[in-house]
C-alpha cells in the first residue's frame, strides 16, 4: 500500500512527466499533436492499399479491421520501446534527486494511454463513416484498455530497470517487436492463422487484447470474457512481479550513470 501512497504524493510529478512526454514527442514539428492522428492514418493508408489490392484480402470493411488492430498495437509498441530507455534518459535527475523511480515507467505507459485514447477517435470515426456505428458493447472498452495498461506497466517495470544494466536490451526489444507484429492478428484476423500455428496467437497477450477490441467495434458482440479474465489475472500478477524486480534493481540506478 505504501507504493500507492508514495505515487499519490508525487502525483504532480507524474502529471508533469506525462505532459512532457506528450508535448515533447512532437516538439519542433510543424503539425504538433496532429501527428497523433496522422501517424496511424498514414500507416493505415499503406495497409489498406497493400492488403486488399496486392494480397487480395477479402475481409470486409478492411480499413476498420486493420485500424482496430493497429491503434492498440501502436499503444503497445510505444510503451514498450519508450520504457526501455526512460531510466537512462532521466539518469541525470536520478543521480541528483530522490523521487519514487516508479514514476518514470508509469508516466511512459500513462502518456501512451492518453495518446491511445486520442487515436481511438479514429476508430470511432471510421465506424460511423462505414455505417457500422457503435453498440452497447462499447462498455467493455475501458475494461480491455485497463488490462492492456496493467500488462504494459509490468513490461515497462522490467524493461526500464533491466536496460540500465544491459543497454543491448533496447535493440533486442526493437527486433522482438517487429517479430511480434506478425505474430499478432493486426493485418489479418484470428481465424486466418493455420491451425498448426494457432498456439502463437493463444500465447500472445496482445492478440487477446486486439481480439477483444475487434469484438467490440468490428464484430459488435461481447468480447471473449474467459480469455480476458485470464489475461487480466495474468497481467496483474505479471505487473506485481515486474514491480518487485524494478524495486530491487532501482537501488543501483544512481550508481550506473
Amino acid at each position: 500500500m505504501n507504493v500507492f501512497k508514495n505515487i499519490y504524493n508525487y502525483r504532480e510529478l507524474l502529471k508533469n512527466n506525462v505532459k512532457k512526454e506528450i508535448r515533447g514527442k512532437y516538439k519542433n514539428s510543424v503539425l504538433g499533436v496532429l501527428w497523433t492522428f496522422l501517424n496511424p492514418l498514414l500507416q493505415l493508408a499503406v495497409y489498406a492499399l497493400i492488403f486488399p489490392l496486392i494480397l487480395r484480402t477479402t475481409q470486409p470493411y478492411y480499413v476498420i479491421f486493420v485500424c482496430i488492430g493497429l491503434i492498440p498495437w501502436t499503444f503497445f509498441t510505444a510503451s514498450v520501446s519508450q520504457s526501455a530507455f526512460t531510466i537512462i534518459a532521466n539518469g541525470n535527475i536520478i543521480k541528483k534527486v530522490y523521487f519514487p523511480r516508479e514514476i518514470l515507467p508509469l508516466s511512459v505507459v500513462t502518456s501512451g494511454m492518453v495518446n491511445f485514447l486520442i487515436s481511438t477517435i479514429i476508430i470511432v470515426a471510421f465506424c460511423f463513416i462505414y455505417g457500422l456505428g457503435l453498440t452497447k458493447y462499447i462498455i467493455f472498452f475501458p475494461l480491455i484498455m485497463i488490462i492492456q495498461f496493467i500488462l504494459q506497466l509490468g513490461i515497462a517495470f522490467i524493461l526500464s530497470s533491466l536496460t540500465v544494466y544491459f543497454r543491448d536490451l533496447e535493440h533486442f526489444v526493437q527486433i522482438i517487436l517487429q517479430v511480434m507484429f506478425y505474430a499478432t492478428p493486426i493485418v489479418y484476423g484470428k481465424n486466418d492463422i493455420p491451425e498448426a500455428f494457432s498456439f502463437i496467437i493463444k500465447l500472445n497477450p496482445v492478440a487477446h487484447l486486439i481480439n477483444g477490441y475487434r469484438a467490440i467495434f468490428y464484430d459488435q458482440t461481447i468480447p471473449d470474457m474467459k480469455s480476458l479474465s485470464i489475461l487480466f489475472g495474468a497481467s496483474v500478477v505479471f505487473c506485481i512481479i515486474g514491480y518487485l524486480i524494478f524495486k530491487k534493481l532501482q537501488k543501483g540506478f544512481a550508481e550506473e550513470f
Binding site: Y10, E12, V97
Partner: protein, 244 residues
C-alpha cells in the same frame, strides 16, 4: 525508532565498485567475463549516527572522507551495502541545485517542474510561487527561458525552490556558496528561520565559520569513519589542528 529521532544511521557500510572500463552491453560483458579490471572502494566503514529532531548538524572532513556519500544514502539516491538508514518526516535534499531544470522552459514553469520533483502538489506550489519568486529576486526574468540565465541567477532560482519546499529534514551539500554576498546572507537568514522552526538540518561544508555560526553539533568524518562527534568548538578545534 525513537519518536524524536529524525535520522538514524546504523552500522553503515558503502562500497563502490570502480570499473576501469565499464561493460555496458551484453557482448562486452560476455567477452570480459571475469577479466574486467575493477576495484572495490570502501567509502563508508561502519558509520552509526543518530540525529534528533531539531538538530543542526555540520558534517566536516577532508575531500573523499565520505560526507557526500553519507548524504546521498540518507536521501535514498543510493543504498547501503550493509547497515541501515532510517528517516522520519518529509526529507528534502539540496545535493545539486537545479537538477531537472529544463533550459527551454521559463523560470516560472521550472519552479513547477522542480518543486514537483520534490513531491509538491500543484496547490502547494501555487501557494508558494510568489514566495519563491520573491526569494530568488529574479523579478521579471522569471518569465524568461532558464537557458538565458546567468549561473548566479540559475542557482538562486534553484535554491529558492528547494528551500521553500517545507521539509522537516533538510540535507545540504556544500551549496551555500550560492550567488553573491547579499544572497548568501539571505540564505543563511532563511536557514536560521528554518532552524528556529525546529527543522532538522544536516549540512556538508568546508567553511568552519558556517559551522560555528549555525550548527548545534559537528560530526567529523575521516576515511569513512566518524572520528569525532559532539560539541562544535571541540570538534572543530581538533579538526583544524590535524589539517593545519
Amino acid at each position: 525508532m525513537n519518536k524524536d529521532t529524525a535520522i538514524e544511521v546504523k552500522d553503515l557500510y558503502k562500497e563502490f565498485t570502480i570499473y576501469y572500463d565499464k561493460a555496458n552491453t551484453l557482448k562486452e560483458r560476455l567477452i570480459r567475463l571475469g577479466k574486467g579490471k575493477k576495484e572495490k572502494r570502501q567509502i563508508l566503514k561502519g558509520v552509526s549516527l543518530e540525529i534528533k529532531k531539531g538538530e543542526v548538524v555540520g558534517l566536516i572532513g577532508v575531500n573523499g572522507s565520505g560526507k557526500s556519500t553519507l548524504l546521498k544514502l540518507m536521501t535514498k539516491i543510493i543504498y547501503p551495502t550493509k547497515g541501515s538508514v532510517q528517516t522520519q518526516g518529509k526529507l528534502t535534499s539540496l545535493l545539486e541545485l537545479g537538477a531537472g531544470f529544463h533550459p527551454d522552459f521559463s523560470g516560472r514553469e521550472n519552479i513547477y517542474f522542480n518543486a514537483s520533483i520534490f513531491g509538491l502538489t500543484k496547490k502547494e506550489i501555487d501557494k508558494r510561487l510568489e514566495q519563491i519568486i520573491e526569494f530568488s529576486e529574479l523579478g521579471t526574468f522569471i518569465d524568461n527561458p532558464v537557458r538565458t540565465y546567468s549561473s548566479g541567477m540559475y542557482m538562486r532560482l534553484a535554491f529558492s525552490v528547494a528551500i521553500n519546499v517545507d521539509a522537516e529534514i533538510l540535507l545540504i551539500d556544500e551549496i551555500l556558496s550560492v550567488g553573491d554576498q547579499h544572497f548568501q546572507e539571505k540564505c543563511f537568514k532563511k536557514l536560521e528561520e528554518l532552524k528556529a522552526e525546529g527543522k532538522t538540518i544536516v549540512f556538508v561544508t568546508h567553511g568552519m565559520g558556517a559551522v560555528k555560526r549555525f550548527c548545534t553539533r559537528a560530526v567529523w568524518l575521516h576515511q569513512g569513519e566518524i572520528k569525532m562527534d559532539g560539541d562544535i568548538e571541540t570538534v572543530i578545534d581538533e579538526y583544524v589542528k590535524t589539517t593545519a
